[in-house]
Every structure is written in C-alpha cells, then in structure tokens.
C-alpha cells in the first residue's frame, strides 16, 4: 500500500481543508473501503441442496480450524470452478447463509405424546430407545411371511419410510439396507412426487 496515501477522514479536518486551500496537494487521494470480509475466512466446497443443477458453493467460515474455534458461516458464494454454475447462484443458493445460520433450526429432540397438546423435550437416548421398541413391536405384530397363495413375501406393510430430497446417496443406501431388511415395502421418496 502506498505510504503517501491519505484518507478522507483526515481531509475533513480544518487543517486538511486549509492545506488544500492554500496549495494544491499532489499526493493522490484515496478513499477507504470496507475490508474484504472473506479475505481470511475458511473455504469449504459444497453442493447447493436445492434444485438438481447441483451448483458448487463455497461456504466461508470464520476461524482457521484451530482447536479452540467453533466455525461460524460468514458468507456463501458460488464456486467459480464448478463447470455447471461457474460461480453463479440463484436467489435460493445465494441465500444459503441464512439457511445455515437460522434461528428457526430445531435444536433438541422433542416428543408429542398421544393426546398431547404441545411438545415435550426428550433425551436422545429415550427417543431412540422408544422408537426402536415401537419399530420392533409394530414389525412383530404385523410382519407377513407368506401371502394367501403360500408364496414367501417376508414383508412389513405397517411401517413406512418417506425420504427427503436432500438425503445423500449414502444415507439413502443405508435406508434401503435397513428398511428392506426390516421388510418395509412402503418405501417412498420425494423422487416420486
């Protein structure tokens, strides 16, 4: 940066004005700008979770991944290297920072009991144990081993899985593995609708 630069905050002082009143200043004038907010932020390449174009996005987080730092997102921008979006984003992708950093996020497991009129907090352990018990009981109660014709069907019609559009392939694979092993046939996904 030029050592001769001066900025405008100084210019507005009387002295500054007087200096230019009685003699023209040939030192170039500079104006201050906001510092580039992502200059030292950490970059993570990711994929936009919205439509199927799969734009590459760069998630900028504060901190240099040092142990004592909890990263916080400060900006999200398109990945210019990505062959499809080449850095561009739509209004949804461009606002991903607000999706990551959102005060409406669910932060704790909750349960609504039969007949309940509000949510109750529940621990992860209790929630998962209860769910596992319900899965087993429902399965044991209704599992169909043979159909009317005597063919082996080994299916479970009473439990359904509905998967979302932003589940990763790996997650979906785990779902297929676990659900099909339970015998689940009501296995559906946003892909249908």
């Amino acid at each position: 940066m030029s050592p001769t630069r001066r900025d405008f905050l100084k210019l507005t002082t009387l002295g500054g004005t007087a200096a230019t009143l009685f003699g023209f200043d040939l030192k170039p004038a500079y104006a201050q700008l906001r510092t580039l907010k992502i200059a030292r932020a950490n970059e993570t390449r990711s994929t936009c979770p919205y439509c199927s174009v799969s734009c590459g996005v760069i998630i900028y987080t504060i901190g240099d991944r040092a142990k004592n730092v909890t990263p916080q997102v400060v900006h999200v921008e398109g990945d210019p290297d990505h062959p499809i979006n080449r850095g561009t984003l739509c209004p949804k992708g461009a606002s991903l920072e607000q999706d990551i950093l959102n005060e409406r996020r669910l932060l704790k497991p909750q349960v609504r009991r039969p007949g309940g009129t509000d949510w109750e907090d529940i621990s992860w352990g209790d929630a998962l144990n209860e769910i596992a018990e319900k899965v087993k009981k429902t399965r044991d109660d209704t599992f169909i081993e043979k159909d009317a014709a005597g063919h082996t069907v080994n299916r479970l019609e009473s439990i359904a899985w509905t998967g979302g559009c932003t589940d990763t392939n790996e997650f979906n694979y785990l779902v297929v593995k676990t659900m099909r092993s339970l015998g689940v046939v009501h296995l559906e996904n946003q892909a249908r609708v």
Binding site: T12, L14, T17
Partner: protein, 220 residues
C-alpha cells in the same frame, strides 16, 4: 412590558421594547447560525465553517431547526410590525431620494416614520425570503419523502433555497452595515431599546414628531 416600566436616560426615547429586541435577536442569532452553516453547504471553500461549528452532520441536523426558529421569529415580527410596515407615499418619495440617503445626505430625505422605506423593504424582504426559505427548506429537510413523481419540488427547492438565501444575505449585509457602521446608535437601540432624540429626529423625523406630540399631550 410597557414603556413606563423602562427607565429611559434623559434625552433619549424608547425605540424598541424588550419584546421587540428579544425577537430581533432570536431572529438575528438564528440567522447568523443559518448563514454560517448555509455557507458551509453552499461552497466547499466554506465547509470549514461547519467543521468549526461541530461538524457537517451537526450543522445539517441543526440548520433546519434554526430555520424554524428564525422563521418563527420573523412571523412574530410580522405580528408586531406588519401594521407599521405599510408602504406609504412618504416611502415612495423616500425611494426616489434614496441616492441622498446612501450618500449620507439625510437632510434631503423625506421625513421617514418609525421605519423608513429601506427598513420596510428589509422587513418585507426577510418576511418573504423567510417564507421561501421555509417552504424550500422543508423540502430539502426531508428530500427522501418527496416521491419521485413530485421530484420537481426538490429541483425547485434546491434552487429557490439558495436564491432566497442570497437575497436575504444581501439584505442582511446592508442591515448589518447600516446598524453597525452607518447609523451610530442604531445598534444600541436593539440592545438597550432607546435612541437619542437626535437620532430619532435625524433618521425618523416623522416618528420623532409623533412621539414628541405624544409627550406634549397631557398624561392621563
């Protein structure tokens, strides 16, 4: 406060009541502030004035409020003096003879009353100038609320305000010159309120006659 309450030195006569003097100085001080900050906005070469007066932001913030005070004082003056500021035949003659006035040949002037035609002009000049400054000033105060369709108002204001201001500055300079330099005693009159009989007789012969007639009349 009535005239009677004020002690007038011998050979002097009350020209401005306290109320009048106060009003004058409210208008005067606010005008000076307006002038200084206005000049700062008028030309970059004067922007330093704003810096001295607390910075551009403070100047911009207070200028309209000072303007309201000034216009308020002017309107109050209107209430006090409008009746005395009517244009008369003597004023007509006065203007015809103004060259004598400006060359200090006051004896060649027609006998002015409490206010000569020049002062009346000053009064009306400030009154109408004040109105223009107020109207244009309000637009300039809140330009963001003037919709795009009414933008001509802003365009008008931005030219009317300085034009009116320049006009009043002209009046102001003459007023200052007359009051401080040309007419010895005039300045004292808006401070203490009284002028010497001689002053009254010389500059406002009509008024002088009026008050001496009043003084001669038996008191009730």
């Amino acid at each position: 406060m009535s005239q009677a309450e004020q002690i007038i030195p011998h050979g002097h006569v009350l020209r401005y009541t306290l109320r009048e003097r106060l009003t004058h100085w409210v208008a005067g001080f606010s005008y000076v502030y307006l002038l200084l900050t206005g000049l700062a906005f008028w030309s970059p070469w004067c922007f330093w004035i704003a810096v001295i007066l607390g910075g551009g932001q403070v100047s911009r913030m207070l200028h309209p409020w000072a303007g309201l005070i000034f216009v308020g004082a002017v309107l109050y003056m209107y209430g006090m003096w409008a009746g005395q500021m009517r244009y008369t035949d003597i004023d007509k003659a006065w203007w015809k003879a103004v060259r004598y006035y400006s060359t200090n040949q006051d004896d060649k002037m027609p006998p002015a009353g409490r206010y000569n035609a020049g002062q009346k002009f000053l009064f009306w000049g400030f009154f109408w100038g004040g109105i223009l400054l107020l109207l244009s000033g309000v637009v300039l105060w809140f330009p963001e609320y003037i919709s795009w369709n009414l933008r001509f108002l802003r365009y008008l204001a931005i030219i009317v305000h300085p034009a009116a201001a320049l006009f009043t500055i002209g009046l102001f300079m003459i007023h200052l010159y007359m009051g401080l330099f040309a007419e010895r005693g005039a300045f004292g009159s808006v401070i203490r309120g009284d002028v010497s009989m001689a002053f009254a007789k010389r500059y406002h012969p009509g008024w002088y006659q009026e008050i001496t007639r009043q003084a001669a009349a038996p008191r009730k």
